[in-house]
Amino acid sequence: MEFYLTALQLALCLAPMCMGIFITMKIFKIPDITTDGSYTLGAAVTAVLLSRQVPVFVVLPASMIMGALAGTLTGFIHTKLRIDALLAGILVMTGLYSINLIILGRSNVPLINVSTIFGSLHLLSNEGYNAFAIGLLAVILLMLLLTYVLKTDFGIAMRAAGNSETMTSALGINNDKMKILGLAIANGLTALSGYLVAQYQGFSDINMGIGIVITGLGSVLIGDALRNWFSVLAIGAQIGLVIAGSAVFQLVLALTLSAGVDPNLLKLITASFVLVIVAIPRLTKKAA
């Protein structure tokens, strides 16, 4: 039980990032590598501010704003300098590594004797269940908020901008602005995941973001597979399935590790797992 709870807890902490990847990958069709850097950025800002006794609810917006700035930069490089989105993301991610190191001051900052979000809120008496409840509550609130935003006139315009640029510019929508805003929101959400994970695991590490984008992509793709399976159309349900995708992803990884696989192989397993998720629908389509 404890084992599944840990996997699901991590899935909840990573769910905001998965929602961010949903925006970049499913709405804008951009594989945004900035994620690796903005995730660590969120965690780095969190660790440094928390260890200076800044309250958790001040650190929350601070880390998200930093992530959003990173996304804005990627969006700016992509739209205004006309550089491929993938390369723009790689450039910002690479630059962020140094920024994160400067913020952290060293490669690893432990969070000892600081009050974390999981220690500040008491929903349930059991410590493990309490952390889970906080994560669940945060993710549900976030899901409702994102669903609302994507249903507003602004949200419809953003979804359309990622779908048919000729249509949106004919309808008076500034596609560049939409892309920049989309990347900002996505990376703000990613930084939020960094904020949650840092507090959950009790430290921030300069290398914690390496390959995290693959985890997000995998979760979104699982969500997409579920969406096709159940032929879901509503945007809110799609976001819900992304969160479900995050849970499935973490459970599969946890099961693999518990089966006695060498933890050093974790990244290889993650990459292979995502490859399988991507390949299966394509292979079955070919067969049909």
Partner: protein, 249 residues
Amino acid sequence: MIVLDHIVKVFNKGKVNETTALADVSLQINKGEFVVMIGSNGSGKTTLLNIIEGAQKTSGGRVFINNNDVTGLPEHKRSKWIARVFQNPYNGTASELSVLDNFRLAALRTGSRKLTIGINGSFQETVTEKIATLGMGLENKIHLPMGGFSGGQRQALTLLMCTMDHVDILLLDEPTAALDPKSAAVVLRLTEQLIKEYSLTALFITHNLKDALQYGNRLIQMQEGKIMRDLNAAEKAKLALPDMYEWFG
């Protein structure tokens, strides 16, 4: 009203493959005119349209819409006057969004898109009623994604979307080129009807000479980046198909 003042458009200037797409074109399209534009491939029709809508910048000359100089304005800022129907039905609508979402954006073409939910009961009713006028039986499918509809249905819906918000100018770039003859006829009849109903200024590019003869009240033939012929309603009425075939002889 659209005014083009000595428009020049040169592609790849200074290179070996330099092409003059438009060579000093001046044109005035008055309010209520339904201009049909014909011309061979590469004659400059689409470039002219792109310059009016702002998809391409001019190399020289000025563009005015309703007496506003819009020469430097990007595409998305000209949408307060201009509505467009594209050659490819996929360009005029967002496939992944529902018909209702598409219509919502069309209703905000001249407005702003706020962080509030704009699709409510009365908006749905308006859209349903509007779509019912098409007589295609699409009014019960407004929650389905646009991607599931045929090219003809999408072009008809795109046309209808143009009238969801205030519109002065309608630009149509071979809107029926990708459609079967029956759907094409439906779309063109709808175009004519909407132009009359909303007294629009329209520019319609086509390769179909029969359509060029049947529709519109002014006919322009482009050739090698210049306006070769410009016929008013009376002159156009006297025209017969064989005359037009000779132009392309």
